[in-house]
Every structure is written in structure tokens, then in C-alpha cells.
Symmetry: C2
């Protein structure tokens, strides 16, 4: 039961709450396509189980699996995790799932963005993507939450908000001609204001180097609290990430949020740089319908791609040289949450990380303060 509404969240006085606000739970999908995930997706599935299990320590988790994989997913996941049948073209719930919005009475609705596999036929990652584009609607039906169908292409990983009127995005993604080629930057701003209920948009430039999503914000930077942003950082001038992180830093230093605050910036070290190995690349079945995954590809590893759960942080472990420093920075950034690490190289090999495969459902029935 999910009515499709004809206005916009902002017109109905709904907005997207921050990820660090209380959740009802978390949604994920079950990976399976052998032309993206090596060795028939079994190594990735094992890590998805670890991520789901880690999040389930803090809040209820639902996992959507295709009909063909349902029984195996059900068997592999702990019984306390809900498994539902949900067709998809790949498993990036952050990008294909709904973006939930709330109002002052604590009611929830969902934004269902148009999805085109990160660029459609102009640089997208696979074809077709019709099942992916239907995921948000199916989640909203199960949750019993009404739906806004946004009239433009976007992904959940391309946006972060502070829940107080500010959104964080990248030009590389939001202004990419393979998303909404007929929209100017100011038109995109208007859409984001209407569908996220924000009044201030902070534009960073490029996303993490070689991020195949065209620079999703959720690999580069995120809000950890109102007025506080974590940023993936690189000190090595010869690394292409150096200029990207420095440009983002400068923009963040100059920015003011919707309440006029300047931002505190927490630097998270970049892991690696990390590259796929020949053995890893060999496990992927070549296919005409998906982008190839050759060996020695620079991987868009980033510690900012963590998930904020109720009372917990589930973060990727990617490189023994930097994992501990990143974890310590996150512990300081989230003193009231338990930081749990999961080794997620298998997810990174498929093109993303923990934040990309999760989507939070905000808690309902709790009055909330309207943003600026």
C-alpha cells in the first residue's frame, strides 16, 4: 500500500532527515550477477552477510533477493534478518532504494528517483536497469509508505544531508550530462530543494578518483553531525586523489550550511591506493551487458562510505596501514556509537562499499523539528 503523490516533499513540508537521526531499520539487496561479482558472487555474498549482521546488532535489517537467490540468501543470512523477494539488476540499495523524507509529525514518505544505472547508455554500468528502477516502489509498498516519483535522474549515493536544511553533492555527478542533460545547475538545485526539503546546497567538485558512479558524494564526504563533515583525504601530491580532496577541503572551508554555520572538517585517510588483482579480475564473467572489470584497476576505496546505524557505525576495513587511524577518527566523531569494522574489499571490487549497499528507514511517529 503506497499511494503515488502528485506534489513534492517540500510543498507538503517533508524533508530528508540526516542518517545520524533515529532509524526504524535498514534495507539491503543480495548481490548475484556474475558479470560484476567474482566467483559467482559468493565472496561478495559472504561480506554482505557480515555487513547485514553487523547492522542488525543495532537495528532491524531487511534484504531483498531475487526469486532465484531467495532460498540461498535466506539460508546464508541470520534468521533475525528479514529476507524478501525483490528483483534487481544489481544490489546497490543506496542508489535504487527510496530516499525517505519525514515531516514535523514524524510521518514518512519516500522519494523514488529515476534510475539509469549511473549514466544510462552514456557511460552507465550495465543494461537493462528496469528491475533496479522498480526497487524503490517495491520497498515503499512493503513499508506501507507513500511515494513521490521524482521527475529526474538521481541516486541516493549522490546526496548527503544534515537534516537541518543542507545538502552536500558533487558537480561531477549531479551536473553530469548522462543524468539530466537538459537541466542547468540552478534547475538541479531547485529539484533538490523540492525533493529533499533543503534550502542550501553545498557543491563539491569531483568525487573520489576513478569512482565509476561519476563521483558520488558518499565516497568522498558525508555529514557526521550538523556542521561537521568527514572527508576522504590524501596527502600524496602525486596521487590523483590529492587535488580532488584539496579542492573539496577548500570548498567545505568556504561553505556555510543552511543555518549559516561554517563546517568542521574531519579528515579520513585514503586507503591504499588499492588496485584489483589479476586473480580478482579473472573471477568476473565477461558480459556484453556490463562494464568489464579488468585487472590493475584503481579502486575507489574510501572510509567515508560507512553506514550510520542506531548506536553504531559499520565501516569498511580496506587497508591495514590506514584502517586503525580511520576507525579512531570515526570513534572520535561518533563518541556515542560503537564502531564496527567489516573487511569489504569484495564489495569495493564490485564498485562501492557499505554506504552504497544500505538505505536507512527513519523512525516514524516521533515529532521532528523542521529544518531552516
Amino acid at each position: 500500500m503506497s499511494h503515488t503523490l502528485t506534489r513534492t516533499p517540500a510543498a507538503d513540508r517533508f524533508w530528508m532527515p540526516a542518517e545520524f537521526e533515529p532509524h526504524a531499520g535498514c534495507w539491503m539487496l543480495w548481490p548475484e550477477r556474475p558479470d560484476n561479482w567474482r566467483d559467482g558472487a559468493l565472496p561478495a555474498q559472504r561480506v554482505f552477510v557480515e555487513v547485514a549482521t553487523a547492522i542488525a546488532r543495532f537495528e532491524p535489517v531487511s534484504v531483498g533477493a531475487s526469486g532465484a537467490q531467495f532460498a540461498f540468501a535466506r539460508q546464508q543470512l541470520p534468521p533475525g534478518i528479514r529476507v524478501v523477494e525483490l528483483s534487481h539488476d544489481d544490489c546497490w540499495m543506496r542508489d535504487v532504494g527510496p530516499t525517505f523524507v519525514v515531516n514535523a509529525r514524524g510521518e514518512r514518505r519516500g522519494v523514488d528517483w529515476v534510475f539509469n544505472a549511473w549514466g544510462g547508455l552514456d557511460g552507465g554500468l550495465y543494461f537493462p536497469w528496469a528491475n533496479d528502477d522498480a526497487v524503490a516502489r517495491k520497498v515503499l509498498e512493503i513499508e506501507g509508505v507513500d511515494r513521490y516519483r521524482a521527475p529526474f535522474v538521481n541516486e541516493g549515493g549522490a546526496i548527503h544531508v544534515d537534516g537541518q536544511g543542507t545538502a552536500l553533492v558533487t558537480e561531477q555527478c549531479l551536473l553530469n550530462r548522462n543524468r539530466n542533460p537538459n537541466c542547468s545547475q540552478s534547475e538541479i538545485e531547485t529539484w533538490l530543494q523540492r525533493y529533499l526539503g533543503v534550502s542550501r546546497i553545498i557543491w563539491l567538485g569531483e568525487g573520489v578518483f576513478n569512482d565509476e558512479t561519476d563521483g558520488h558524494i558518499d565516497e568522498l564526504a558525508c555529514f557526521v553531525a550538523p556542521g561537521v563533515v568527514a572527508l576522504s583525504w590524501c596527502d600524496n601530491r602525486r596521487d590523483p586523489q590529492f587535488a580532488i580532496s584539496h579542492d573539496a577541503y577548500v570548498r567545505l572551508c568556504r561553505a556555510r550550511d543552511a543555518r549559516g554555520r561554517s563546517l568542521k572538517i574531519i579528515k579520513l585517510p585514503q586507503p591504499g591506493p588499492l588496485f584489483s588483482t589479476a586473480a580478482e579480475a579473472r573471477g568476473v564473467q565477461a558480459s556484453e551487458n556490463a562494464r568489464p572489470r579488468p585487472e590493475r584497476t584503481r579502486l575507489a576505496g574510501s572510509y567515508t562510505n560507512f553506514y550510520i546505524a542506531n548506536g553504531g557505525i559499520v565501516m569498511p576495513l580496506l587497508d591495514p596501514r590506514t584502517d586503525r587511524l580511520a576507525a579512531n577518527r570515526l570513534k572520535r566523531a561518533f563518541p556515542d556509537r560503537k564502531v564496527v569494522g567489516v573487511s569489504t574489499r569484495e564489495i569495493l571490487l564490485g564498485g562501492g562499499n557499505i554506504h552504497c549497499i544500505t538505505q536507512q528507514v527513519p523512525l516514524a511517529g516521533r515529532p521532528r523539528k523542521r529544518p531552516a
Copy 2:
């Protein structure tokens, strides 16, 4: 989230409540297979929409549709009805869905019977049936209700209960060698006692004439209240249904329920007899995987195959010569419920009727009195 439990409902002090007790809602499936439903299932789909809409006047309705049919089902069904993705081999939720049981604290669990398409390779109606057999589990996951996997073949349409310790079944179905060939009648009784939480089983003989389910009780007779049974009745001695109904009547007259009461019997007239037409048979695509549907087949039409909703009865309209009499008898049997009729010949052509395509979910959180 649905744990699979290792004991039995009776051992855990759970039992199946009667259909006339309060519901949380109703589940259905969306018909689609063109080798069972004529004209690409569109006429049947229209009637399923009418049935779902009628039930939704009284209680929440969820409809499971395959991935291929999801968008169309969502479009055809009213927005107040929940549509979820659910693979199936056909659409008989009564038989493939869970049988819910409750306890004295109002907690719910679900029984997931082994399903073999009404007889497996020995007279079953189609092959394969693996998706059907997974439906109950998927419903229980979405509902968040724990599951008993019954270790024997059964269908929801093969059982009726009064919620006070009595079950009503037929020998033709429950003792059929194509269900549980290695079980004696007393072993079947033991299984029913354990999984339905009943202490008394009333055995009728054969089900409705030419019922392809091997004589499901829900075409022949049902409880309308404790101590009161509706029975499909035939006065024409030359009709093969005559002997079946009379035998059932005699058995019901002699029976005592779990509380020692004799039963009041309400006779519902048999419609027709009804036969499929050449035009109807032509619309079904012949297939090696499903039983053929030739013209001039006697249809197992019965007014006892109605659904009891909260405050309502949704009954099949099958024959203008008998519809009104049947409706009046149901109105008298259920004086506090609104009786709504839906013309369901299109469902009957596919092998069942309104009760066969529905499955109630009992209301939770409400203390209940343990049966005898």
C-alpha cells in the same frame, strides 16, 4: 524476519483460529499463467481486482505478483491495496500461503505446509511447483511471523476449523495417496492435531464433484460459527453431487465437535451445474506443464467458497438462478456482516473460487481463549 521453529504449534500451545475471528488482513496472489487462465489471464485478473477491492472494504489486502507482472498488477489494483513481488507457479494463496496459528497471548505463527500442486506427479495440476512451495515462507518473512515447516503435504483449502478445537476435512483429499501415501488416517489425524491445535477431526467423504483439488473441504463445507456448518447442497438425484452432499449431511448430523456439540447445518444451493464453454476453453494456451482445460468440463462451482472478512462476506456469484438464495442464506448465517457478491466465473474456470485465492491473517496482540 521469520525464525523456523523446531517443535509443533500444539506443543507450543498454538492453534488455528476460525476464519470468522478478527483479522489483521488478507493475502492474495496475482494470476498470470496462460496455460491455466484464458486470454492471457486478463479476464481473471479483472475479477481478482474485484475480489481484492471487495475485501479491502473490510480489511487490509496484500497481493503478491511475479516480477514480470508487478507493474501491471500495481496499476490494476487500487492504491490502498499493497502489492509485493512474489514468484509463484499459480495464484492459489489459500493453498500455498501460510496457515496462521495463535496462542492465548495473541501471538501469531505460521504453518508452512509442503505443497505438491495438489498431487505432485500423480494427478497434480502442473509442474514445477517450487515457487508455490516458497510462498508461505516469503509471506511469513514480510509479516515478521515465525514459521513451522510441517513435515507433510497439505493445503489451506483442505482444512476448516471452528477455532474451538474442531477441524473439518475430507477423506478424498487428506487420505489421497498423492499427498502422504505412507500415512494412515490416524497418523494424518495426529499431524492435524499437532499443526492445527485441534482435538477433534470431523471426516467428510468426497469433496464437490469434479473438484480438481481432490475434494478440498472449502468447496464443500465450512464453519460459519462454532457449531454451525454451511454445506453445498444438491436436490437433484441424477446429479453426481447429490450423493456427495447427502453423505456429507449424514456425517455432519452424526458428528460432535470438540466441545461435544452437535452441528447445525445450513444448506447452500449448488449453482448450475456449470460447464466450461468452447470459447472459454479456446482461450487457454495448451502446455505440457499444466493439466488441459477442455470445453464442456463440469466446473466445481460452490457457494461455500466465500471469504469471511472483518464485518463482511465476499461470496461468489455463479448462477442467476441460485445466487440470490445463496446470498440470503449467507446473510442469515452472518447477520452482523455485509454480504458482497462478485461474479467469479473466471476464477471458477481456473479451478477454484474466492476462498481458494485468499488467506486471512489473524489479528495479533489480542488475548484469545484456548480451545478445548
